[in-house]
């Protein structure tokens, strides 16, 4: 039997899935990403370094700040620019805003309808109006943070190498929406606790995240659940990208062949101890413990991360005083630089080399969804075992549910180039 999903729904971007089943077993399974590539790394070549945050933001409309942060940090690495702690805190705040916005979008708009067996948040709102309204309020707290610091939610305009073009006088107006979102998140605990999660255990994979002074978001080195610590500049010595003929997106695996996952579950498993006190409390009340190996529960981890971001954001907003300067001075120079951060969906790695005027000689970007394709296929094999005998409709339905756990961003994954233009 062949089961095909021509267009995955409630994910960002366009992908398809082909499954071949014989004698009650999955014989072949292909996650096909067919969105045409957009050649970002090529487009960046020859352009001035300062265009990086604006151009790479356009790889993804859902997580542009992630691209801007990995991007500017790579340039700063190449030019030996050391950013002040004060400015770094504001970068974190902006990034928290994006996590809150992007996670709330995924949790409420894309993922939650699966747990109620409805087609969309529009249908969900007919059954659970207050739950949906709560989700909108949480998302709004993230959107407001982004608007305040960057002018707009998608493709904000304030981020630059060395800091920001301009910073607001005061952030007072963010306090109320952030605090309200925190209260609302706690009021939803029982709802989330009551969701039904099918059983699944990702046994033989490694969880890969960043590790830094706090729960990882802005920077750090790469940490694997089997104990490796890898400098950002050595990422490609341990992980390799490869292509498959049926997909227009590159993939990634560890060089020893191990399948790995990046994203909320990996961060939670590797860095649980560094979550904020209220986020830990939230996890505890959801009976969520590290390591959590069931991808269906990623929705809970996203909620925990939302609480973490809210708590950290409230603190930064309350302590905020506009820095004397919104940016620090630097000079462009020849060299190579690396930048890595935790996008809402996982590790986002950038590397560039520049000539002495600061023009880009080469660019290399590895987004999280590229890295998660293997673990998505593996999870599909596990998740479909139970339903293989229950007919095509059910298989199709469950496949999409498994894929959504990883919040794939297909637009990101196809940023690069494998040429097949008709």
């Amino acid at each position: 039997m062949e089961v095909r999903i021509d267009a995955l729904t409630r994910v960002e971007g366009e992908g398809a899935l082909d499954i071949r089943i014989r004698e009650g077993k999955v014989e072949d399974l292909k996650l096909r990403i067919y969105e045409p590539p957009r050649f970002f790394e090529q487009i960046l070549k020859g352009k001035p370094y300062h265009t990086i945050p604006d151009i790479t933001a356009r790889i993804c409309g859902i997580c542009p700040v992630a691209y801007q942060m990995s991007g500017v940090q790579a340039v700063e690495d190449a030019f030996s620019v050391k950013i002040t702690e004060e400015l770094e805190r504001i970068r974190r705040l902006m990034y928290y805003g994006e996590w809150i916005q992007s996670h709330a979008l995924h949790v409420f708009f894309l993922h939650l309808p699966d747990f109620y067996n409805v087609s969309s948040i529009l249908e969900l709102s007919k059954m659970e109006k207050s739950l949906v309204n709560a989700g909108l309020e949480i998302k709004k707290a993230g959107s407001k943070t982004l608007e305040k610091l960057g002018g707009r939610v998608s493709h904000p305009v304030s981020v630059k190498v060395g800091g920001f073009y301009k910073l607001p006088e005061s952030l007072e107006e963010l306090e109320e929406p952030l605090e309200r979102a925190m209260d609302i998140s706690f009021s939803l605990l029982e709802k989330f606790k009551g969701l039904h999660f099918p059983k699944m255990e990702l046994k033989d994979i490694i969880f890969v995240s960043l590790e830094e002074e706090d729960y990882p978001i802005l920077k750090g080195h790469i940490l694997t659940s089997d104990g490796m610590r890898i400098r950002k500049e050595d990422f490609k010595e341990f992980f390799e990208e490869y292509t498959v003929e049926y997909s227009s997106a590159k993939r990634s695996k560890r060089k020893d062949g191990k399948v790995y996952a990046t994203g909320p579950i990996s961060r939670f498993n590797n860095c649980y101890e560094k979550l904020s006190p209220m986020a830990k409390e939230y996890a505890k009340r959801l009976n969520l413990e590290a390591p959590e190996k069931n991808p269906y529960k990623s929705i809970l981890v996203r909620m925990v991360e939302i609480v973490h971001c809210l708590e950290r954001s409230i603190k930064i907003v309350k302590d905020y005083r506009r820095p004397e300067s919104s940016q620090i001075e630097y000079k462009a120079m020849e060299g190579k630089g690396y930048g890595v951060s935790e996008a809402p969906r996982g590790i986002l790695w950038h590397s560039y080399s520049f000539d002495k005027e600061g023009k880009i000689k080469s660019a290399d970007i590895v987004p999280p969804t590229s890295q998660n394709q293997d673990v998505m296929e593996l999870s599909l094999l596990l998740g479909l075992e139970e339903v293989l005998s229950q007919g095509e409709e059910r298989i199709r339905d469950e496949s999409e549910k498994v894929i959504r756990c990883f919040d794939p961003c297909i637009s990101c994954a196809t940023h690069f180039l494998r040429v097949f233009i008709s």
Partner: protein, 226 residues
């Protein structure tokens, strides 16, 4: 009213504007097709179709023609659909050929921006729902900037700002954040390019990187290409 939302080559940011409409999203009577928002979709006929993204290959070309046939009103949303988007820079470097949808089909309305703003989308939709004809700005960002009382970055600091040739609608956010407009809403329909180039002879590169490089106005008046 049956509504469809479609994606071509793009970043998803303009579809995000539907979600950013928040409470207003729930006022749309019937969304028949919107892959990113719902798992049950009906590919039939549409009263209004919104299209994000540029057309990059033969399959996309056929798809946009088919969507046009099924739609009473077709709306291009965002810089990719209206002007080819950032990927259209690749056209100049012969990396690929990607084009705005108007190169293939008739388009009834164009919502500018990279990305479009949720406010504009909301006003546009509500106007259509009330059976009225939407009106979209065709004046430059400078007007918005003046109305907001912002200091002109060109006059005060001599910086390049694409505001004088760029369509309004964003609320002059870049000058508000102390930088020149980088043109993400694309050109007004009749920009005074000649005068602008006299002030800023080096402006071709910024226009190429304005996320609207392949807009027809620029192609005809600047690049002199098809």
């Amino acid at each position: 009213m049956k509504i469809g939302v479609f994606k071509f080559s793009s970043c998803d940011g303009c579809q995000l504007a539907f979600f950013e409409m928040e409470e207003e999203l729930f006022k749309i009577p019937s969304i028949s097709y919107f892959l990113e928002a719902q798992s049950v979709n009906e590919y039939g006929h549409f009263d209004v179709s919104f299209v994000e993204g540029s057309v990059s290959n033969r399959e996309d070309e056929e798809r946009i023609r088919d969507i046009r046939q099924r739609s009473k009103v077709l709306v291009a949303i965002g810089a990719c659909a209206v002007s080819g988007g950032i990927q259209s820079v690749g056209n100049f470097e012969e990396l690929l050929k990607t084009r705005p949808i108007k190169d293939y089909v008739d388009v009834d309305y164009e919502l500018a921006g990279c990305p479009i703003s949720a406010h504009t989308l909301r006003d546009f939709l509500m106007t259509l729902l009330h059976g009225r004809t939407p009106s979209l700005p065709d004046h430059p960002v400078c007007l918005e900037c003046k109305r907001k009382g912002k200091v002109c970055v060109t006059v005060s600091r001599g910086e390049i700002c694409l505001g004088p040739i760029t369509r309004a609608g964003c609320g002059a956010i870049c000058p508000s954040y102390s930088r020149g407009c980088y043109g993400c809403y694309g050109p007004v329909s009749r920009p005074n390019l000649e005068a602008f180039l006299k002030c800023f002879p080096q402006v071709e590169e910024p226009i190429k990187l304005s996320f609207n490089a392949y807009n027809k106005v620029y192609r005809e008046n600047l690049w002199k290409s098809e």
